[in-house]
Symmetry: D2
Subunit: 320 residues, 4 copies
């Protein structure tokens, strides 16, 4: 047990305060605000230690509008590997084609909403037209791909989509342009899956081999000297990130931002300590969990980290 | 708005009460107890309507010991299709080979636990030896498979595992024996994935094609006159179930048992109403959500439903 | 760390199973089901150790219909002290006068519901008429009380209400009849508070002194050799129970059943370990927390404990 | 259903961004970030409508270090009435006497922590010495009070404590100085309660009458033309605020910031819609709920509202 402790200090409002100063003040507040601050410090430590950053998120984060920020983190080479669910891929592609999602309410008549051509995700509505557009735009890409070869990996499929969009706010576009691999271990679980399945109906020798994807990421992780993960939400992306590090004895750093609790034993709610017992996080690794919703918490964490690291200036300097 | 309502009645303890009588009394209690009762009634309605039952669960439910009950539901042909995560597959296989999991605590020193060869899932510990055993037992199956053909679907891989175990409490065994298909859209996200990946390293033409799996389930669902889903927890299995029903205009019935909340917009926490807006649940469909942990809630729900339907007797009768 | 562990066993359905057998099987399941089993065992240990039982619940449990069971526990002298919120007091009184609550839905048009004379608590509706009835019935009791003396404690006010109802399912009635004290540290926070306030407007020397209540409970706890608490939900009742034990160095046993999580630092979500740091729970005390909703979890826990202790038979025997 | 909707816009990082600009951008993000923005807009509307602001919080918020901000809101006359739990009162008093709380961890050995003289609230530790100091400092105040009169209300007791401290970051001090009433419906449920109880042991005619407090607040609310409430967390303060508005037909505005969910029917998790059914919130009232932890969410909400309203400048101008 530590002998010297930081003290709680009373927070004060100052006009026109900067995000970095508010989150700076969180270092002396308790509960989840100090966790936000600790997450920032750990991310700064990862970067200073030149750890590769594995960044995972579920598709609802892309639905929410954090997409632009994610694309920026890829563009700035702040993150090195992305793992997500297929909803992220298709929604990013849909938005890159100019379709707009709308802000709505959690409680509506969903049958009426459906009749109006809107599909709900929490308090966001996605127009059904977006998916018609998606189908129309994906099809020619699949045809071109098929002309080239018959068996693809998930990561290759995603890369082809990225090659075919141009939007600075697109995750697919920035990943393609900046050679950042996007992994999607459940690529069939969404509208893209339905397109792939429908394409295979007509071209039975068209295959997506999901085995090779795992080999690729395991080998990649093996080559890294240090790895940290930043995990938004749970699900398959979270588990796949830490699983893929198991053969190299686990992650060196981990930041989790989650609303799930550990009591049901779900992977989504599993703590960083649980990961330690599996060797998915090193016994000596530093880890921080923030219990909160990512659309609020993640901008606070990452804006402060980027400001403190003067990351965007460095990025510019490097580019010259 | 309804004009006639059921009234709350005071619950009374009676010695040696049966589960079916307690859950019967839940019909006059509020909050989640009435939801348990409503879930039972809806499942009974599904069965009376001869709806096919799609049953989804995440791997922690198998870890918890509900596995025997799941195997029984398959054996009794109470459920028609199973969708789960790969952890369920590998843990079922591990247990079918006689390995035992142990009951522990949520808060322990996980680094010490790891040193003792134990891996934690909530308050359950899985011996590391189980996975060594898993590797040893899976390898020859993969070799035999590979001798037959090079490209497999996820469902076929799982079926081969089922062919090679014999344990009445095994989901894999009962599914194989009773011709119930198990779908696993993220088959690479676990120890089985690592085995498949490692096998492919040596046999590069060995592939698992995940596209064909989706085609199979979509077609299966198309053929069903009525479908209901029973969804334990969230994640990919939940979403894949309702997604696969979208081309047939959605599920006819849905029961969700979950600890996730809808506020973060996650698929795990998405309500049955949200599914309606997507056409993943029919506008007119009946749906019930129980907010609770499945290791407590599901036995209550299903024991009562089986008792009321006298399902085990009917099953026996049919067998003769 | 323990060296010998219980093993997970596969749960199996058997027709017409008893609650005690299902909860018995929970001893080999993980996550919250084993917590239910541990809660049962701890309550049995409390009773065998002749510990006095402090029983706390929030008013929603009374709304839900657990009221009859609570009254029974008082009647059977299973619990020795009750701490609750004022909603419990007024709703118990209202139900004792024959008013019925109705079972509804979580999502309705609440403005319309209000127009129909219904007030919502989760998925339960309480008719506004109940409160008119409450006012009518409480007034004469206050007048009679005032004729006797001017300054009352909360516990005395509650006792007077209990003296004036007759209903075997009533907590107030059984507490009065069986000399079990009901404490209500926030007695003003409800319809009873409004009645007391309105009575004081006309009789300014009518007072409710809340200080004496705390002295009474602290002294009571001092006299007990051993104390255990069974805490349903959080709020003031939970905190008041453990606070009142602080001068006797804390509770000897504690069972919490809750849906709150510890991350926000709230008293409702505070763990039994946190209570230990305050001396509100002895360092050596046994404690179990079940994360779940009480309308499902509490009947399972208490039915099993009563069955195993053959408590109702003992009670009968004692009465003879 | 609305016909015109706001569109989701991609969030972008900009160096050294201000809180007001980030929260401004939340107007185009989904899930809880848009709820934060809506909460800000509703608070601005309350102020522009000259509504009186009822501000409620539980004691953990004071533990966390939000205390300084709360004191500032009172000093700036941004809030008109405060309702809280007694932990807030005693911790504010303790801090005003120079005692410091320390920032710790959620998972520690709490028995060892206790042995070191530390008491835990989530990830904050409070030295036991603080309470010895509290006792020493409160006693003379009670003696002086008793010399004046024998029967006190809760609000009067709290006011006397405020009269005896001097600290710009103190809620008690600023409330006393600025004539803002602090209500505490469960004043006995904490260390102050124990002091009051112990004082009464020696002076049996010393009383705290909690009935008069409710009359005072009801009358106060009656006089207000418009009222809005800002509710952090749940518990008695939340319920007492909306209850006290019932005789004037409910609040005109409500902002809830909470981590509790509505499924258990608790008052803490009750939605603003539920309040409408009771007439505790007007049918036509505007209301916003943010699901999140207040130590993160509240500074974002209130800093943005104060910046947009240029409240601190107005305050200064008014003072001249």
């Amino acid at each position: 047990m530590k002998e010297v402790w930081d003290k709680i200090e009373d927070l004060r409002y100052k006009p026109d305060m900067k995000v970095k100063d508010l989150v700076g003040d969180f270092d002396r507040l308790g509960f989840q605000s100090i966790q936000v601050h600790r997450a920032v410090e750990l991310i700064k430590e990862m970067k200073k230690d030149n750890a590769k950053i594995v960044f995972t998120f579920t598709s609802n984060m892309v639905t929410s509008g954090l997409r632009g920020l994610f694309a920026q983190l890829i563009e700035m080479k702040f993150v090195d590997v992305v793992i997500t669910t297929v909803g992220s891929i298709e929604e990013d592609f849909i938005k890159a084609h100019g379709n707009k999602f709308v802000i709505g309410e959690y409680h509506v008549n969903d049958t009426k909403l459906s009749a109006k051509g809107l599909n709900r995700v929490g308090n966001i509505y996605i127009p059904t037209d977006s998916y018609i557009d998606f189908e129309k735009n994906v099809r020619p890409i699949l045809e071109k791909m098929y002309a080239g070869k018959k068996i693809w990996t998930s990561a290759e499929v995603i890369r082809e989509l990225g090659k075919n969009v141009k939007d600075k706010n697109s995750i697919l576009y920035q990943a393609y342009k900046n050679n950042v691999e996007i992994h999607c271990p459940a690529i069939m679980d969404g509208a893209l899956g339905i397109q792939l399945a429908s394409f295979q109906m007509e071209h039975p020798d068209f295959k997506v081999d999901c085995v090779q994807d795992l080999n690729a990421i395991i080998n990649e992780f093996f080559d890294y000297k240090k790895i940290g993960c930043i995990v938004l939400g749970g699900g398959v992306p979270k588990h796949y990130a830490i699983l893929s590090s198991i053969l190299r004895d686990g992650m060196d750093y981990a930041v989790y931002i989650t609303t799930a609790s550990p009591y049901s034993g779900s992977a989504s709610g599993a703590s960083t300590d649980e990961a330690r017992s599996w060797g998915k996080l090193k016994g000596t690794a530093n880890a921080v969990t923030v219990h909160g919703e990512a659309s609020i918490v993640f901008p606070l964490v990452i804006f402060k980290a980027l400001d403190d690291l003067k990351f965007s200036k460095k990025t510019k300097a490097k580019k010259n």
